[in-house]
């Protein structure tokens, strides 16, 4: 049985690690050629903030400082996030079908070892999420391989209207720890 995480609903001004924000746009590319411009972006229905909370806090303090700080030393260039997918779409491998990407179907049968490992968060790439009943979120999965970055001020402004909740501290630390372990893994030859 999957563990249920805890989610805080209080929305504060600054972006925090563990924030869940809906409808976040990721700019795939912006290209200009011969006077023609094309911008491609992907709308992710739900993301989680992964950047370290102390970095986000310092960035916010430096940006909002009055009088302004003498340097911009602690300001961030971007905020790291990861998409969250509906686990039912994920099991089918169709969670990115609308953007033309087919993923490998994942073992859905709960008695199978691979599914048990997934639900127990023992597969490094994925983090399974089950939310409490009072949180309007379906059972989901974070795919750490799909992390991307967004503009700091963009996400701060978006949070005012699109904040869904914040994964509470213990659970967000678990996610952060697993994400860093995934990123720092060492690929060995087959």
């Amino acid at each position: 049985m999957a563990k249920t995480i805890k989610v805080d609903s209080v929305n504060v001004e600054r972006v925090s690690q563990g924030d869940l924000i809906k409808d976040v746009k990721f700019i795939e590319y912006a290209i200009e050629k011969n006077g023609n411009i094309e911008v491609s972006k992907i709308n992710f229905p739900l993301i989680i903030i992964l950047t370290q909370d102390c970095d986000l806090n310092q960035d916010h303090k430096f940006r909002k400082s009055d009088p302004p700080k003498s340097t911009h030393d602690k300001q961030l260039m971007s905020v790291l996030v990861a998409p969250i997918y509906n686990v039912e779409h994920f099991y089918d491998g169709k969670h990115l079908s609308e953007i033309g990407l087919n993923m490998e179907p994942f073992e859905k049968r709960p008695r199978k070892t691979k599914n048990k490992l997934f639900i127990a968060n023992e597969i490094p790439r994925y983090h399974h999420l089950r939310f409490p009943d009072d949180v309007p979120l379906v059972e989901s999965v974070i795919d750490f391989k799909h992390y991307f970055s967004v503009n700091v001020l963009y996400i701060e402004k978006l949070k005012k209207t699109n904040f869904v909740g914040k994964v509470s501290e213990l659970y967000r630390e678990d996610i952060s720890h697993r994400f860093s372990a995934f990123l720092s893994r060492i690929g060995l030859p087959d």
Binding site: K22, E28, L96
Partner: protein
């Protein structure tokens, strides 16, 4: 222009009338009806347009 101004509520768009953003047209837009978050899949939106040059160019 600073990013603070671009992302502020008061920002109404590029001051230069020749800027491309004045002339973009949306090929695809999405209206996502959500009753429960996370039910939808990621979607791609492509904006495109042509740069129009003003008299001063």
């Amino acid at each position: 222009m600073s990013q603070d101004k671009i992302f502020s509520d008061e920002y109404s768009g590029p001051e230069n009338k020749t800027a491309a953003s004045k002339h973009v047209s949306k090929h695809a837009t999405l209206e996502i009806d959500e009753k429960k978050y996370g039910l939808n899949k990621p979607q791609r939106i492509i904006l495109s347009g042509k740069l129009k040059h003003g008299e001063d160019n």
